[in-house]
């Protein structure tokens, strides 16, 4: 039995359910997925300040999760707090957009990224460049759909997405396209037949990469000396998680 922990860094439980459903669709036979949701912050993070809050919320949600797990999928599309979780946990941790970009690199020379919400474009750009993927990123495009407009007129937002994808293919040389945005998960299945390049979804990509990392069974990276800081003002579970107490670093 493999146990994945999916952490939605947004507070929307509707989105968590959607992410979980997509994750379960792609999970292997013996994989059980638990989904948890940020207990505070924005329902759908799309600015820098609520993304900072989401960092705490992701750590907090993981810290409060009692049951053991073998890997963590950070299911907020800015991959918030991924590196911090990797530091405090002993199990593999992957962010959903990171996962999609990595899979894109394995099937293309250069990939593009499409997202809803123009406000988030620079945030995705920075995140992907910070991963060191400048040479592989062909371009980014935002469509003007919100979750609301998408639900109101899905055909319209799908047409806009398809146009943005084709723009990335024809004008930027994208050989694959990442569909970014937690609220859009699953859309790749509808759009894939309409475009000539592979579409990558973060949840599908992440579940599969994590199952693989669990099989690789690597030890965590222990390059740092001991920490001597004192924590205060945090919940008990958060304090334990950051203190590196064994109980909080699960797998078994």
């Amino acid at each position: 039995m493999t146990r994945l922990l999916l952490v939605n860094g947004n507070t929307s439980k509707t989105v968590t359910q959607k992410l979980l459903a997509e994750a379960e669709r792609h999970a292997g036979a013996n994989v059980q997925i638990s989904a948890i949701t940020a207990r505070f912050g924005a329902d759908l993070v799309s600015d820098r300040a609520s993304n900072v809050i989401a960092g705490h919320a992701v750590l907090d949600a993981v810290a409060h999760h009692q049951d053991p797990y073998d890997a963590v999928l950070v299911a907020i599309s800015l991959d918030t707090a991924v590196e911090a979780l990797r530091e405090v946990l002993s199990v593999p941790v992957v962010g959903m957009t990171e996962a999609a970009c990595w899979q894109a690199c394995l099937v293309s020379n250069r990939f593009g990224v499409v997202m809803p919400d123009r406000n988030t474009l620079p945030l995705y750009r920075e995140r992907i460049l910070n991963y060191g993927l400048r040479e592989r990123l062909a371009g980014l495009r935002a469509i003007e759909a919100t979750v609301q407009t998408h639900h109101a007129a899905p055909a319209d937002s799908e047409a806009a997405l398809r146009a943005a994808i084709m723009d990335l293919v024809v004008n930027e040389g994208s050989e694959a396209v990442v569909l970014a945005g937690a609220s859009m998960t699953g859309l790749q299945r509808r759009l894939q037949p309409l475009v000539p390049v592979p579409l990558l979804d973060g949840i599908a990509s992440g579940v599969i990469l994590l199952e693989g990392l669990i099989r690789l069974n690597l030890p965590p990276s222990h390059v740092n000396g001991p920490y001597t800081t004192t924590l205060s003002g945090l919940s008990g579970p958060c304090t334990e998680l950051l203190s590196g107490l064994p109980s909080a670093r699960t797998s078994i």
Copy 2:
């Protein structure tokens, strides 16, 4: 009267007092500085996870500060949450290490960075590269002093710092050196006479840059469309700050 708000993202009030003292030493005649301290997190942030927490703590501390201010100095040496604060406030915001690096660029072609605590070296490296300063960064060095060892044997840690600075000068071509780390603020005054290149301190640099930005009197950058997210689970002041309510975006 100019009012600076200094936010220590570490929870150590001793450090806050030290930072405030250094800031006041460099502040102009009509400048009044208020210093606030993170209400939760690590006493001295030196790892990724407590830095994520510090992001929330910085926003929280600013949100809970009732009095008006004209600029914010983020006084945690990883410049935690600087971009997020810039997004939600209408006043200038500068991080202490960012400030030191920027001043270093104005007096040298390439600069180095010295810090206590080897664990933090990659975090500084990432932060400075994310500022886009790869071409200007000559190198980084960590000494093995903690605040404790520094207080126990200041001459030893100063000798180690001086050796690290000279290493950066001779072997990396550093023409200026940034002394990073909130706990080390003020040390540049003791070390400057002993080395042949200018030493930059984040608090001195930041106070001066902020006073200048206040005088430049620029409007904030309004490039984004309206945000439609819903916040939950946050304190009232934090919610106001992230919601962009005018009361929270001070300057008068």
Copy 3:
């Protein structure tokens, strides 16, 4: 039943057997691996000219393989002809060093690479930089072991490898290390207990990434117009492979 095709671009069948054994050790339950060997070229490629020959040999070997397969693992450590195979096949293709680097990026911020044979260091450097991984590559080290010296005195070459790994960790900030070189596959299992960072092997990494890509079930990237070139002087199977005849682009 999932069928992987492992292509050794070196002509050494001993190495092929070793690679196949390592691949089978990491393969999933329903995975069947066929291993084929370059029919011409160098027994162990370590220079640019024989690597150019290996490119043809990899295509040739794949072209002559009659049975269907679902993915291809290019098991020559310079990942020779990976992009070309991706272009002509409809199934996922991954190179062994590419796979190890990708897995390294998912468990570390920056990774190092260790290899036998100083002559090949610049070739690995170029290959990894061409993948666009400059920001993630902490450093490279070569030890002076050949396969012969390794077999003659394995303890010596393991000690040298361990020293090189620790050099990458301590002096270059590597948080993970890729063990490169087809002839060294499997050594990561012996060395892992001796070092504080995860060690990545290309065969283990590649088998697992390919199984994941098969599950993702992405269509190939069709961004190019029709090709109008005429081929001559090649074997029938090679001509078919490059002509894009359906029979040669397998998966069923």
Copy 4:
């Protein structure tokens, strides 16, 4: 009393007066500004060859200035000879475009640059990239206004500038915009109300940064060994300046 020396590297005294007026508008209470003009070269430098001449003219003008000063503002928008002045003087030296870019980085994630005269666009591009600001530079735009056309129809050139600024904001993601070109100084005050991002002017930015650097009171960088070259054919003051005679390196 703080004494700034403003050096116009163009030979146009009309421009010098304009630059001085703008500088005085932004200077602090106890700041006295002396403005000097290049004694030879182009009235408004806009090509590489006259920019080379302007380098000499800037050094020459500074060398011939007898009165002491505490900092130098290089008021030619290609920041000509800034690094050379920094080398031979003991006081802070800042270029006007460098100053504007630095201030832009403190208020935005990525900034754009607008300039009159298409011929100079590649020169600005090179200068800003040589500062190492590639990651922060969102784009550049030139309008086709000369000083003459601007004076003849200021509303037209302002409309063109505003359009170029909005193009940089909307299509390149610029969160701030630098108005480059000595002849355009002051225009930022008229255009600022018309655009949604902060506009940076080199003179305002430079005066303020220099006042700050004077307060920081850093020693010059002494990393080089003694120079042994012999100068000839230069004016006495220029020879003194380049020889490093104390009389020429002012501040007191």
Copy 5:
């Protein structure tokens, strides 16, 4: 007497004759050029897989050439196998596109590249970036002409080329333009009068650079230790070439 060996990595002998004629037009007085053609592969390489084959074909063609020569011009526009030939031969080796780019850098600050066949654009892009010329490459454009359409309506393809060149000049800031593609060699002579920037042809550029390298008379680079690999399955001449036997490394 100087003897150049021109190697067409495409199998089209018509193209070889065209390349040889262009080379002879630019060769110096005492230069004798021998042209050889790939014995297998694509008539005009325009995809990754046939480019991989061309690598072998280039080495094979050179290996089978019995007469001595003083330098090699790799006359396939993706410069296939250039680095490998440099490794095994003792004489200068230059690729035609590399040569054109290098000459472009000597007459411009940034250059563009025009090519027939949209399919090859990413291949040129990668090749030129791999040369490290990112900073000098202003842009790339493909026209939709094939050799066939060019022969059928040369005026049309010339008009398309001219439009693409002007696009690179006006919109990308190209100060010179490389005409890429072996089949287009010589066209620069017809187009040069119609455009305001220098046009570079790979054959003209390469012949001239090679004559210069012969005069420089540099020793080859011997930085590697001895190779110990065993070759098999190759023709006798190829085996000799890769084994570094003196008979195969000509000049005399």
Copy 6:
């Protein structure tokens, strides 16, 4: 008859004679070289300020040269004013260090640079990076020899140079090495037999590249609109050169 103009941007006529002698040694049969010397500035430029002066001196020297010429070799090792000369002249212009680096790229994958005088190392570093050659530059080394010490004990400085070259080969992976510094021209002939990689000299490289560019017979790049600046305070010939009067743009 081909006429090269060699411009020494240093004022030392002894160096000019040495440069001319080296140039003549490498020039082709029908090449006549005229050598001119900067009329003002440093005898051997090794700092930023005298390099700025040298820019004017190079333009001045060329402007005052009455006889026609077909190409210009800028024989000061920081390649001072090369781009400016290219802009105002109609004939090919190459800098000596640029020439050596370009030739190095044609015979190696990565090259190193050795120079006398530690003070100049950052200036060479900047110049070569500004050429966009970061990916090809393996490293730089300075020896502590001045022209004086070299003349006093040539064997010592040659031993130091050889050691620096071997350091670049062994520790930085340099496959070729540029010997930089006008005063060192010709030394490559003595050192070449002692090292295993090709050594590049700027004068030899430049003469040969220029002869090649003359044969390529490219038109100058005319991408700019008309200049409208007014010049003053310059000598008549300098004014003519910068005004673009045909008499000053020679070749015939």
